[in-house]
Amino acid sequence: MNLEFLYYQRKLILDGFDPKEFELGNLRITFNEFMQSASLSDVIKVIINAYKEQYAQHKFFAVCFYDEDTNWESPKYPDNLGLRTNDFYLQKNRMTRTDIEYLILRILKDDYTKTNARYLEELELVFAKPMYNLETTIRESLIGMEFTEESTMNVKIFTVNDSPIDEIKISNEKFILKINRDKWKAYY
């Protein structure tokens, strides 16, 4: 899949439009369609692929499962998930997919005196039903990268070297992608 749009910094144009952004818009539509209809393991592959070599704009992941027939205004975020002001949360009833319980993007908003940008710290997907054998999917996705694996009770952790992905944590219940801050890039 062509994910070029994930890395394109849009232009600022008033009363006009950026033709490149329009061109890439079609890729975004294809991407959304894929993310809403593909198997969960393929979805995870796309997320890893998007980040493993280049830091991508997280806003596209925030809404790739979003069901546009639902109100764009979110109900109040739950209290028990440790969500902060700039974090993003999307629950099952606002998605077209039924196999994801919720999605969280933990976001850091940089000070306006510095880059003034938003950065993804962590992407968390919680499954509606337990997912098994995700390790294979992760390993396949990380082909070409240097990584180590570590297992605790129910959690498997993949630590990736020299990549925007710092580590990937998986269990039967969830998938967490942690970003390497050194590879952050400011997008607006």
Binding site: K59, E73, T115
Partner: protein, 922 residues
Amino acid sequence: MKEEANILTRYLNPRRFKNSDDNYREIYHLIRIDHDFLENEQDPNSENVTKEIKNSLPATYGDNGLNAYKRINTNLPLVVTHNSTSVKCFFKREENDSTTYLSLENALLDNTNESHYLPYTNLTFIPINLGASYYYHIKQEQLYILISVFPEAIIIGQKFLDYNPKHLGGLTDGDYTLNYKDSFGFTNSFMDKIISTPFYWGHDDKYRTVNVTLNNQIGKVHWFPKIRKESGKVVLYYEYDNARNDFNVPMAENGFLEAAIRLEFNYTRGFLAFMVLTYFINNISPLDVLEEDVGFRRSDFFKKYIEIVAESLQNSVFTTIYDTISTLYYVPDEFFVQKQALFSNNSYSEFLGEDFLWSAIKRVLRIPLSNFGPNVEDITMGLFETLLFIQDYKGYKNHKDKNDYILNELLTRKYNHESYLIAFYNRMHTYNFVNYNYFIYKIWRNSSYVNPEHPIFKNTSYFTKLTDLKEEEKKKAPIMLTYKSNKLLGFYTSNIDAEFNDDENIAFTPDESSWDEIYDFFFNDNGNFIKSWVEGNWKITYHPLHPIYLPNPTEESAIRVQKISPALLIKASEDKAFWSNVGTAVSYTFDVLTTLSGFTNLAKFRHLGRIADAAGYIKNGVRLKNTFYVYKAAKGTLATIEISSGTINILLRITGLEDTPFGQALTNFLFWMEMLTLSVDLYDAIEEGLRGSAKVLTEVNNSEILSKKLDEFIEAKLIDESDKARIVDEIKEIAESASDYSTILATKVDISRDIAPKTIKGFEQSKKLEKFEHGLAFNLKTKYKAEHTSNLPNEIKWPDSIIKNIEGCIVTHNHPKGGGLSIEDLFFFISNRLVEIRAVGPDGSVFSLRNGKIYDSVNDVRALDYANNGDVLDQKVFTLWMQYKAYLKTSVGDTTRIEKRIFNQLFDLIKDRVTYTHYINK
């Protein structure tokens, strides 16, 4: 709204049991479940039971408020509780040894569920044994049970009406309205011809009102009532048949015997409609009184009716033609059949014959024909049909003579030097243009004019070869014409030009239309087949009724021409093609005005010119009083456009400026007015075109020229100062309503209430007259500030450095052409998470869209929550944006309608969270 009285017209129809095809049809009785029903031992045949008798099942579909009944979908048996004040209905369910009841109120709910079935152990129920087909009368709030009865069982006779006030389905004394909008099956009546387009008297239902008084006495009643005029109102008395009743009818206060039913109509129109609904659509004709067995009641009844119609027509001669045609609308054709015995001794006969129809037609020519307001065009077509119809009674030996007569009359009768034939050709604007031409074709094809040797053609139809300098000698006109037309992508093209000359004959010449070029320009593929068809320098002049043989008539003509057509039909096809092409051009949304430069001379504004004529010529010192509003309340648009014929009259007379920008602007304005009067179905485009062009006319330079021109008219004493003021006002009003789709959504507020920072306001005032767009981004919190222009008239491409700081800013810019915030502005506002976006126009007024909507009562502010919803909102906006860009990519030319749709969708998304203001100098 008053309840409908159509039950009455059904009840009073003397033929309601007489339909021979329906001998075995069941009659449906709707029996009301009420006090009377229970008191009369639940006997549906009891005289005291309220019922409605119908010969079809009650209509219950749809929810348009017109249906009286709602069907209750249950098969459960009905039980009731009964006390001195009320009867309450329940449906009884016995299941698994337990008995529960569903109340009527719950049964009427859309979502009846198990919880509604209750034991109601404290109530005592009476079972109703009448069947289980339940109908709820919505207005009466009463339950009815439907039973079917064979007609023979209830009809005692057809010579009289077996009257029982209870059989009118609960109708009681009072005012009701007659609904004749959705009537059907009109036969042998004038109405039949125009029924395809409903005719409204106006929105006021006063004309339809009938006051009903019902006598409680049950008895036999005469089918035909006595008609009296009382204080100018028509009153109908349905009297008891004394010979058949075993009671004495008491005397009423007015000295007459009491009637069973008294109907009082405030307006004659209502009475006329009642006559159509009760009698004429049921094939009871007033001419039946000539039948032998018709009693005096029926004869008197219709004679009185004729008198009322004639009186109404007579009065209308002194008021307006609109009154005449409004009466004619309800009069059956037969009335105009001359020399009927019925009218021979009637002083009103002059209003009921052919001459009256011709005079009505003449009067119609004095008013603008249109279907705005009363459907004058439709009714005029009806008048022609009636004229044709009554010829059958004039003893012609064959159809040809009859048709010749009509065509001769149309050719010889003149109005303002125009024959009726051509006068109506020029005046029909809507679909009736086609109807009229087919009407003429229909009578022409069976007339002596179909013969090319008809003497009238001798001096009117000829062929000439044209040299550069003079017309060569006249030769006999050819009967065969290689007329060829084609339709490609909505554009009609043909190889012939057809124009009327001064003596109403039609000159055909090889095509010089520029449509081919337009077509070429946009589609690059006309194929030269049209052009190559006819070459040479010739002209054929035909009498409009001259027959023309077309070897291969094509279906691709604007009006379908026939193998042998009168010249007028081919001309009609060409004319229709012209306007159709204009319409197509507009629907392809390119700039017709530029493209049509060859056409935009004032001479083409023939419809408009006629409207101006309606106001009469302006004469020295005579103020225009006759104001004809060209256009009102466009369908699907918010505002109204009104312009008086006086203004148009003057605008059409402004000449000599064609090549100047003002002349161009005026022509454009008139062009759109013309489109409007043609009622081409492109409301939005027309409205925008008209308003846009009005706006150009009111621009400083142009308004000065207009003012000077109007002064010339004042000097020539054609108009006075107040006329001038009115003309300027009317144009200005249209221009000001020239609100684009964005502007109309903004709330107008005095500019003194604008709380924007000085930095912003100062920038706006300094840039408002710039020809290029300039932008300023300013963050109140961080004090970030950046200014930029791309030296482009309608776009600002900001440097990459600014994007980093754009979030949370107020962004302002100038719109060199004015106008509200654009669709792109809205996208920009959302995708950059701005606090406010603003645009200043050359007039200094400012449009502002601000995050946050204030709900005054509690000082509650609701704003866009970018932190939690920004990305999702961005996705929504992205989808709209992609749609918008895709539309733009695939459409040609003016895209206003698309933009309007997208803008509205976008605005709808956020309107509860933002404040859109237009700051103006009040």
